[in-house]
């Protein structure tokens, strides 16, 4: 059986999911893996649900399709709790692990009163994911650093602990993808997330 590692990032448009997935893909590629990264742009950028997927393997002929099959995600990174629940089915049975930002972004369908919101998202997450999730105050940490925008790098730091890559490669990829003026604070966010 060819071993493929599947990482799925989910959240809401504007949270920096595409940048995070870009960095992970570069790290995997620079570490000699065969990589595919697939994402959706466009309409979903405007506050809708967003998903990006990265698949990598040591075997150069293992990864053909760009899309992770249902129930095959090894690590699910959720930038928001409702999106974590929505994408629970992506997670690999028994071994899949989720990193979830303890953040609620209320959809306008709920704030406008058109649909019912979820009352206790933590309880639902506990019931679904059991002990296979790690809840992180990424946005809270990012706010202390000055902006909620840095939450993505806090999550990337947490993700890096579960990935078989050297920290130097992560830092190098971040320097490639992030503007020099913002790199220091992003590195700090990453290091806090890595713990």
């Amino acid at each position: 059986m060819k071993t493929i590692v599947n990482v799925t990032l989910v959240g809401v448009g504007g949270q920096g999911i595409l940048l995070t997935s870009d960095i992970l893909a570069r790290v995997a590629a620079a570490s000699g893996k065969s990589v595919r990264k697939s994402e959706l742009h466009g309409m979903s950028q405007r506050g809708g649900s967003v998903m990006s997927q990265i698949r990598f393997s040591d075997d150069p002929l293992a990864v053909f399709g760009p899309v992770v099959p249902a129930g095959q995600t090894d690590v699910l990174v959720a930038f928001e709790k409702l999106e974590a629940i929505r994408n629970y089915g992506m997670l690999k049975k028994d071994t899949g692990m989720a990193i979830i930002d303890d953040r609620d972004l209320v959809p306008t369908t709920v704030s406008s009163g058109a649909q019912e919101g979820l009352q206790d998202s933590i309880a639902v997450i506990e019931k679904l994911f059991g002990d296979r999730f790690k809840l992180l105050g990424a946005t809270a940490i990012a706010l202390e650093l000055g902006s909620p925008r840095f939450a993505n790098m806090v999550l990337a730091g947490a993700l890096s602990k579960m990935m078989p890559f050297e920290i130097e490669v992560w830092h190098a990829a971040m320097r490639e993808c992030i503007k020099p003026g913002f790199i220091d604070v992003n590195l700090k966010a990453f290091d806090i997330g890595r713990g």
């Binding site: 065969s34 994402e39 309409m43 979903s44 095959q72 406008s112 990829a173």
Partner: protein, 601 residues
């Protein structure tokens, strides 16, 4: 950061750009459209070797590429699938005359309509246009095929299409650019005046009609021996013909079966396919969207097996192709994920919405309030159609808003009718519709949402931006002046954030029995990043009476706060709010005001 100098991690779109660069493309044009936009954005980042532009629409983009080809240059035009419709008129005739410099059209389809108004398969149009077709399955092929497309175009005289779909355009993988990567310095060919070749009047075009057919024969000979059509002979029982992104899903499931990948799929290499079919017992075709390859093979009398699993609508994925595999092999449908999955509670949906602070919000709030029938158009502002704004009655295609509004008026619809169109869409194909209203004595009220940028596709410059694709200064088209020149006498320029003014002007103009244009100006909040350092607004819970009016503007920053009886007071998320003031203008109780604190950034 990679171990070889010419290895690059590229999306399919970027790889097309690199392929064009390597091939020495001289002129590149496009109108932005998801998922094709990054092709020209990438070309613009090279060192200026390729003369590139955002054209005002896809037809113009192709016409510029055609002119460049006639003059001897290698040219590329890029667009999304619906853009190909707009561009078909010049394509259908240039396919008769044939190229001088190689000409490539990069077209990106959007299966599953992630960001489009329809799901159409460009391959039908390529066949219709008697052009050659490459279907890359990943970024490496997107690079190799684009590079080869220019050569093929010059060898055969045909236009060559490189067709991507969302998953090839927006999937990134490693591309080996080759040891000799650089700009391909190909000289511009000589231009020789040739009326019989380039002037498509009937007498010449009748001759060209036969030339087009001869080119098809040349292309077919090429596709029969193309290196992009590859056969993997394995199991004799099942053979799969596939193309594009479907190839990846096929390879993941049909590991022990024979596979024919068609990278060069129009004209079909029928001899190659017939030979492949003769080596397997059962032949299947797996392709994304319409059964174009399947029908072509079947029409040639080669037997293709039917199957129950539906694959012709919406994008493919490993699970759908896996279901086909299970059907063919007689396996019990494996659904490891579905079987024991615990029940997920019903969740609220999260559709895309106008951004917090979007300059379009006020206009839709007013149109909703005035109970106007709104003929909409293509752009971010199509989101004005979703609840709670719900201020749009129809959206068809780029530029249709004005013509459709006029049609409603002609049908005698006795309501206030407004057409709403963005600046880029107005330049694309709204101006002709407006002239038609003026010429035919209509009375349509047109609202142009002018944010000086092409918003939905990620902020591309347009004629109103004052900048070209490559960032050079350009004359800034003035929409109000254009409308006056078209003969509209009632033209108004308003601040899109001034609700009072919007209500007055829109309210008046909807009643006036002659054409009017209201240009609502407000820069794109996402493009100018006003949200960094902007002062958020807040709700005073003592003043808020939970009337709910601010929920009705559909701002993602306004959420339910404290309960008050069965209703909720509103609360503004300070990290999302950019302080646009729209909610404070709709609040009748003075409960919403600025926090007055600069976000520490």
């Amino acid at each position: 950061m990679f171990n070889k100098p010419n290895l690059k991690f590229l999306s399919g779109d970027e790889a097309v750009a690199y392929g064009a660069y390597r091939a020495g493309c001289h002129v590149a044009t496009a109108y932005p459209g998801t998922p094709s936009t990054e092709i020209l954005e990438t070309i613009a980042k090279f060192n200026g070797e390729i003369n590139c532009e955002w054209s005002v629409n896809e037809k113009v983009a192709v016409e510029v590429a055609i002119g460049a080809s006639i003059a001897g240059a290698r040219s590329l035009a890029a667009m999304k699938h619906v853009g190909v419709n707009v561009a078909m008129d010049p394509i259908m005739t240039f396919t008769y005359t044939g190229v001088n410099g190689g000409m490539v059209v990069a077209a990106a389809d959007d299966p599953s309509l992630h960001s489009s108004q329809n799901e159409q398969d460009t391959r039908n149009l390529v066949k219709f246009a008697k052009a050659a077709l490459f279907e890359p399955s990943d970024s490496q092929e997107a690079y190799d095929m684009t590079r080869e497309a220019f050569e093929l175009s010059e060898r055969t005289g045909a236009i060559v299409f490189v067709r991507l779909t969302t998953r090839t355009a927006h999937t990134s993988s490693m591309v080996d650019l080759g040891d000799d990567f650089g700009y391909g310095n190909v000289p511009v060919k000589e231009y020789v005046k040739n009326v019989r070749k380039y002037v498509a009047v009937p007498a010449n075009a009748r001759v060209m009609r036969y030339d087009a057919e001869k080119r098809l024969a040349l292309m077919k000979a090429e596709s029969e021996k193309s290196k992009f059509n590859t056969v993997r002979l394995d199991g004799k029982e099942v053979g799969v013909v596939t193309s594009g992104v479907a190839y990846g899903y096929v390879m993941e499931h049909f590991e022990k079966d024979s596979v024919l990948k068609l990278g060069f799929s129009n004209p079909l290499p029928l001899d190659l396919i017939r030979d492949f079919a003769s080596k397997v017992e059962k032949l299947y075709v797996v392709e994304e969207l319409d059964p174009v390859i399947r029908d072509g093979i079947a029409a040639a009398g080669i037997k293709v097996e039917p199957h129950d699993v539906e694959l012709s609508m919406m994008e493919l994925n490993p699970d759908r192709v896996g279901a086909l595999y299970a059907e063919i092999k007689g396996l019990k449908k494996e659904s490891a994920a579905a079987e024991e999955a615990p029940e997920i509670p019903a969740l609220p949906t999260r559709p895309p919405v106008l951004c917090a602070g979007c300059s379009h919000r006020g206009v839709f709030h007013m149109l909703s309030k005035l109970k106007a029938v709104v003929s909409g158009d293509i752009g971010c502002y199509t989101l004005g159609s979703v609840p709670p704004l719900s201020a749009m009655d129809t959206t068809i295609c780029m530029g249709a808003s004005i013509g459709a509004a006029f049609g409603m008026e002609k049908a005698g619809l006795d309501r206030k009718i407004a057409a709403v169109i963005g600046d880029s869409t107005f330049f694309h194909s709204g101006m002709t519709g407006l002239l038609n209203v003026v010429y035919n004595n209509g009375a349509v009220t047109v609202i142009v949402l002018d944010n000086r940028i092409t918003g939905m596709t990620g902020h591309q410059n347009n004629p109103g931006s004052g900048k070209t694709l490559s960032g050079e200064d350009a004359p800034q088209a003035n929409i109000a002046e254009i409308c006056r020149a078209l003969g509209v006498r009632r033209v108004f320029e308003v601040d899109a954030y001034d609700l009072k003014q919007l209500e007055e002007v829109i309210g008046t103009e909807l009643e006036v029995p002659e054409p009017s244009v209201i240009v609502a100006y407000g820069t794109c909040v996402l493009a100018v990043r006003r949200n960094i350092g902007a002062t958020p607004y807040k709700v005073d819970p003592d003043k808020c009476v939970a009337c709910g009016v601010c929920f009705r503007i559909g701002c993602p920053a306004i959420v339910k706060g404290d309960p008050k009886g069965r209703l909720f007071k509103s609360y503004i998320e300070p990290t999302t709010c950019v302080g646009c003031t729209t909610c404070s203008q709709v609040c009748k109780f003075g409960a919403i005001s600025s926090t007055g604190e600069e976000e520490n950034n």
